[in-house]
């Protein structure tokens, strides 16, 4: 996959789901950690944990509602359950169980949704989670994390397991550009500023972070300095970083692999509307389901490219 990148020659690293699975297996020496799986462990990479800690791994079959309920009981009994499946089957199929058995009782369940977004490609829209961030953000008390690459997913996985409380971690299917080194810090709720700039700010999550950096490089050629924030934690959002960006730059572009409604863009706009109104533009899937196709083709078709981000920035600056 190229992700439409043309300005920066990124090394391609592991998929975020893969990095999650490896980190989970490493963290598994903590005996409180248990894993429930909707029979997709070789897709979510929880099989690495399964191989090392089979007694703490429960494949509950193709039954996500029951899977989440079991995770709830395990958490109530003091375990740290990680429930992993394809993000749309987890968040959409089991939403009532997540609401009622996890969010409402505020239990320490870690939900990990993989194969999020349209970049899964050929399997098509039934498998693409593009509402999952909105669903997760709608749940009181939830932490919602959308990491950009392998190293940050690894750090996010450890942070998620250490932090008490219900969490949704969103991972993707394809191998993705390397943005971080393994030792780079990641603090949940605190955006990472990856690039300085005082003309405009690009706030991105997931696979859109690499594209934002690429877009920033293209904008520099036009004399525009773009600040790039990796907003890996959508909830609780880093209010200070957004307010500072609104104060110090002339506008904000928000890029995410998700529907227009209820995701990172809406959350950032809520902050600017209250703290410091600024011109904004949004790069996302819009208000539609996608189709089958090659991942790169779909990203172009649905406007998730560095070019789309740069164009959005130009529109903001023109106003």
């Amino acid at each position: 996959m190229s992700f439409g990148l043309s300005k920066i020659d990124f090394e391609i690293g592991p998929a975020t789901r893969e990095a999650f699975g490896e980190a989970l297996a490493e963290a598994g020496s903590d005996e409180r950690i248990v894993v429930v799986d909707g029979d997709v462990n070789n897709s979510t990479f929880t099989n690495a944990f399964m191989d090392r800690f089979p007694q703490r791994f429960f494949n509950t079959g193709i039954a996500e509602s029951n899977m989440v309920g079991i995770a709830s009981g395990l958490a109530a009994a003091g375990k740290i359950p990680v429930a992993a499946s394809f993000s749309t089957f987890l968040m959409s199929n089991a939403f009532d169980q997540i609401r009622m058995s996890v969010a409402f009782p505020n239990l320490n369940v870690k939900l990990v949704g993989t194969h999020a977004g349209i970049s899964i490609g050929e399997d098509g829209p039934s498998q693409m989670a593009i509402e999952d961030i909105a669903l997760a953000c709608a749940l009181p008390g939830f932490t919602v994390v959308v990491p950009a690459d392998g190293a940050s997913t690894r750090a996010a996985t450890f942070a998620m397991l250490e932090r008490e409380g219900p969490t949704f971690l969103r991972c993707g299917r394809p191998k993705v550009p390397v943005i971080y080194r393994d030792e780079d810090p990641l603090q949940l709720g605190r955006a990472n500023q990856l690039r300085e700039g005082d003309d405009i700010t690009i706030i991105a999550s997931g696979i859109m972070v690499a594209m934002a950096l690429d877009a920033a490089e293209a904008l520099r050629e036009e004399g525009v300095e773009a600040r790039v924030l990796d907003m890996h934690t959508v909830k609780p959002i880093d209010v200070a970083a957004i307010e500072t960006a609104a104060n110090e730059t002339r506008g904000i572009v928000v890029a995410e692999e998700h529907l227009a409604y209820g995701g990172l863009g809406a959350t950032v706009a809520m902050v600017t509307a209250e703290r410091r109104a600024t011109r904004m533009a949004f790069v996302n899937v819009g208000d539609t389901y996608a189709t089958s196709g090659k991942p790169d083709e779909l990203l172009v078709q649905y406007g998730l490219t560095p070019q789309a981000i740069a164009d959005a920035a130009r529109r903001v600056l023109k106003d």
């Binding site: 248990v34 007694q55 703490r56 429960f58 509950t60 079959g61 039954a63 509602s65 029951n66 899977m67 989440v68 309920g69 079991i70 995770a71 709830s72 009981g73 395990l74 958490a75 109530a76 009994a77 003091g78 375990k79 359950p81 009532d96 169980q97 609401r99 009622m100 058995s101 409402f104 009782p105 505020n106």
Partner: protein, 280 residues
């Protein structure tokens, strides 16, 4: 170490009458709630908590060794609260605050606000899965505590109940007992006219449960069923308890199909309490 609480049969009968009167008084005071759905489970819960079966200690509600009772049909919260108050988790005087602003005795159980409540329920179908989570955790930790989940018969129309039943049966969770409060009615009509469940015992048997059908208002049969459940090895147990919705109050028993989610009117309360005979 949590322990069982063993009362003799006469004391159990008295306990059941008190729990019934709490249910009636609390819901009438609240002006809403589900007394009829609560009254059907009284003997089941009374024998579990006071007949020497459930191991618990109200002073240590989070003790990892405790047995768990999960009320999956959360709308029977007044029944659960009455039992918990009688068991000493909080003063019985608090029952009059049912459903009031600020009270932890919410319309449906909220485990974050009331000790002794093992699961927040009220969206039907979820308690058995939660019970499985507890049962697996107990197994992992090598604890011999048990998990009891009470499910309504109407609630058993939820698909998640059968996802959970399949899992519990396939994994031989013998520390898990499913109690079905088979009161025969759901919100608008009889279960048999909406979505007949029979042969329920055969269905659960096919899912891997050891099953037993009992009269859920007979203290002896309930007591015997819980003892039987503990003796079963290698598979979860289902106690299908035939009960009467509104049991103990003539007004409700007469209108089983037409009295879901409604309290007894204040002018009928005295008569209902007399019928229950809590003072006796």
């Amino acid at each position: 170490m949590p322990d069982t609480h063993q009362e003799d049969k006469e004391a159990l009968a008295r306990r059941a009458r008190r729990i019934r009167s709490h249910i009636v008084s609390a819901t009438t005071a609240a002006g809403s709630g589900h007394p009829s759905s609560s009254l059907s489970l009284v003997e089941l819960a009374t024998v579990l908590y006071f007949g020497g079966h459930l191991r618990y200690d109200p002073a240590r509600p989070d003790d990892p060794d405790r047995d768990r009772f999960i009320l999956s049909k959360g709308h029977a919260a007044p029944g659960l609260y009455a039992v918990l108050a009688e068991a000493g988790y909080f003063p019985t005087e608090q029952l009059k605050d049912l459903r009031k602003l600020g009270s932890p005795l919410e319309g449906h159980p909220n485990m974050c606000r009331l000790p002794g409540v093992e699961a927040s329920t009220g969206s039907l179908g979820q308690g058995l899965s939660i019970g499985i989570g507890h049962a697996l955790a107990l197994r992992l930790d090598g604890l011999d505590a048990r998990v009891y989940v009470l499910v309504g018969d109407g609630e058993s129309e939820e698909g998640q109940i059968w996802e959970a039943a399949m899992y519990a049966g396939n994994h031989g969770l013998d520390n898990l007992t499913l109690i079905i409060d088979r009161n025969g009615y759901q919100q608008t009509d009889a279960v048999d006219r909406i979505q007949p469940l029979d042969p329920l015992d055969e269905k659960l048997h096919a899912f891997g449960f050891a099953t037993r059908v009992i009269d859920g208002h007979s203290l002896d049969e309930v007591d015997e069923a819980f003892s039987w459940a503990r003796s079963v090895g290698g598979q979860p147990q289902a106690i299908i308890a035939r009960t009467i919705k509104g049991k103990g109050v003539a007004l409700l028993e007469a209108k089983q199909g037409g009295w879901h989610g409604k309290p007894i009117p204040p002018d009928e309360e005295t008569r209902a309490l007399e019928e229950i005979g809590a003072g006796a």
